[in-house]
């Protein structure tokens, strides 16, 4: 059993470790260290709590049993889950945090004495408000995360589900929660508390169903933020600094992260969060194709990260580079990559562009050394040993359909086997086809990242992100 002061100091320490954890995670170099800080913070928080409660009765055995059981389940999931299922996993985990917050609030409500909050039906008003808010937010997080999980897992359709009056209903439910809390404080009647939790479950569902699958990452981050606020609410109830600091930290960083992600996707935050509104005209046309085949939509920072960390990159220029006059920016990008120790080659397809030698003219203008420029026959075998193919404004000349479909108008044309690279980046403005008018199935491959933008603009942005 340790003194309240000492435990408060330790809670502060664990809060700071969490800050350092988030800070670490914001750059690849320090990220693993950040994670360790987080673990350390958590260990301190748990140990201090156990010590400060100071109840070493048989309960502690049960506690350990439950803790180990949970830990085992968590570890099992963490090791078994495939990397591609990350987003839904995070959503699933969130729901647990939300539910845990609800449980803690219920526990406090049922047995306020244990937390020094007064006695049942005579709970301190401030605490009552705090725990209701904590429980409500926790409940919203819980059901919201479940819906997000189902959508991402594909169990529920990813399409936004909207109906008229949606926003109105949400508003009404929100207000009713406030009213209920008010009466709860006034009367201390149990059923108000349960109603708050129930309605919050409902709100969680209603909030997330109108949001489309593509926006889920933002939603997850938003739910993350909610779980933080819930923890902070409980923290106020329990007068626990660790919960307050961490809750506020998670709450605000989650909110900011979702904002940043919206910006990265060129979506308005309000649109995403208000779901229904955004949903009708959201579906980011650029990223969608008629058949709704999914494409991976990246941005300049992703591209910069991938190429910077590659050991070899092959540049495949096409007519789009010429249209955008991106050759100078491209050259600059290559210079930067070389400084990062990346090996670069240019692969020129015989008919890239709209004139024989089109690419050569432009690359020479940008002073690309001739010995970095290779024709198809000389480079086609290299793709398999290359980390990244950077396809800039080229399309037909990479289309594997030329090898497979005798009916296609480009059948028989030799093509650059870019898809053999570990990753393929396509810079073009949309999913529309090239000169020959045939769709390019590479866009939908798993190892392809589409960078939708004008080639010059995108290349310049990538340059900015390579250091």
């Amino acid at each position: 059993m340790i003194s309240a002061n000492l435990s408060a100091v330790f809670y502060l320490a664990s809060g700071i470790l969490f800050i350092l954890a988030l800070r670490g995670l914001s750059s690849p170099e320090t990220s693993r260290q950040g994670n360790l800080f987080g673990i350390l913070g958590m260990i301190i928080a748990i140990t201090v709590t156990i010590l400060s409660v100071g109840n070493f009765s048989s309960s502690i055995i049960y506690l350990l049993v439950f803790f180990v059981a949970g830990g085992a389940i968590g570890s099992f999931i963490a090791f078994k889950i495939p990397m591609t299922a990350m987003p839904e996993l995070v959503a699933g985990f969130h729901s647990l945090v939300g539910l845990a917050a609800v449980f803690v609030a219920i526990s406090a409500f049922l047995n306020p004495g244990a937390f020094n909050l007064g006695s049942p039906s005579n709970i301190k008003l401030a605490s009552l408000v705090e725990m209701s808010i904590g429980a409500a937010i926790g409940a919203i997080t819980f059901t919201g995360s479940i819906i997000a999980f189902l959508k991402l897992r594909g169990i529920m359709s990813g399409a936004p589900i909207t109906f008229t009056g949606q926003h109105f209903i949400n508003l009404a439910l929100g207000i009713s929660i406030i009213v209920l809390i008010f009466y709860l404080c006034k009367t201390q009647v149990d059923s108000f508390f349960w109603s708050v939790i129930f309605i919050s479950f409902l709100i969680g569902i209603l909030l997330i169903i109108p949001i489309g699958g593509a926006d889920m990452p933002v939603v997850i981050s938003m739910l993350n933020s909610y779980s933080g606020w819930a923890a902070a609410g409980i923290g106020f109830t329990l007068e626990n600094t660790a919960l307050i600091i961490t809750g506020a930290l998670v709450g605000s960083s989650g909110a900011i992260l979702s904002y940043i992600m919206c910006k990265g996707m060129n979506r308005s935050f309000a649109n995403v969060i208000l779901g229904g509104f955004g949903a009708d005209n959201s579906s980011n046309e650029v990223g969608k194709n008629k058949d709704q085949k999914p494409v991976k939509n990246g941005n300049a920072e992703d591209a910069a990260f991938l190429m910077k960390n590659a050991s070899s990159v092959i540049i495949v220029p096409g007519y789009g580079m010429a249209v955008a006059q991106a050759q100078h920016a491209l050259r600059e990008m290559v210079d930067k990559l070389k400084k990062n120790g990346v090996t670069i080659k240019y692969a020129i397809h015989p008919v890239a562009g709209r004139m024989p030698g089109h690419m050569n003219v432009l690359l020479a203008e940008a002073n690309v050394p001739y010995d970095e420029v290779f024709e198809l026959d000389d480079i086609n075998n290299d793709f398999a040993n290359t980390d990244v193919a950077f396809v800039i404004g080229a399309n037909d000349v990479t289309n594997p359909i030329a090898k497979t479909d005798p009916k296609s108008p480009i059948f028989g044309m030799p093509v650059l086997d870019v898809e053999k690279c570990k990753s393929v980046l396509f810079v073009k403005r949309s999913l529309s086809p090239g000169y020959a008018g045939v769709d390019n199935e590479l866009f939908y491959r798993d190892n392809t990242l589409m960078l939708f933008a004008d080639a010059k603009k995108m290349t310049e942005d990538i340059v900015k992100n390579i250091e």
Binding site: S26, S75, A114
Partner: protein, 102 residues
């Protein structure tokens, strides 16, 4: 003229919000997912509340309803703690710089 500790907590809360705000501003997009997952893991600090709920109080009877909720909360939070940090670790493994690089 003692100040109510609530005010202090409020100050701490507000300042922590600022820290949270700033700390992620400069994150690289490729780290969005790991960051999200570590934040998730951290948010299971709610286990602190769960532990109090499970242990605190005078009664030795662990089957009291409020304690049961506490124990359940502990399981949930523990899943999250282990799952969250481990998964983050796995993700970060992928970002290791290649050894071939100088």
């Amino acid at each position: 003229m003692e100040i109510d500790p609530f005010i202090f907590r409020l100050s701490i809360f507000v300042l922590a919000i600022f820290v949270g705000y700033y700390v992620v501003w400069s994150v690289t997009p490729s780290l969005h997912t790991p960051l999200m997952s570590v934040t998730n893991a951290i948010s299971s600090v709610i286990i602190v509340g769960a532990i109090i709920a499970a242990l605190a109080g005078t009664s030795e009877n662990i089957f009291e309803t409020s304690k049961i909720f506490g124990f359940f909360a502990i399981i949930l939070a523990a899943i999250n703690i282990f799952g969250g940090f481990l998964v983050t670790q796995r993700m970060l493994q992928m970002y290791k710089k290649k050894k071939t690089k100088k």
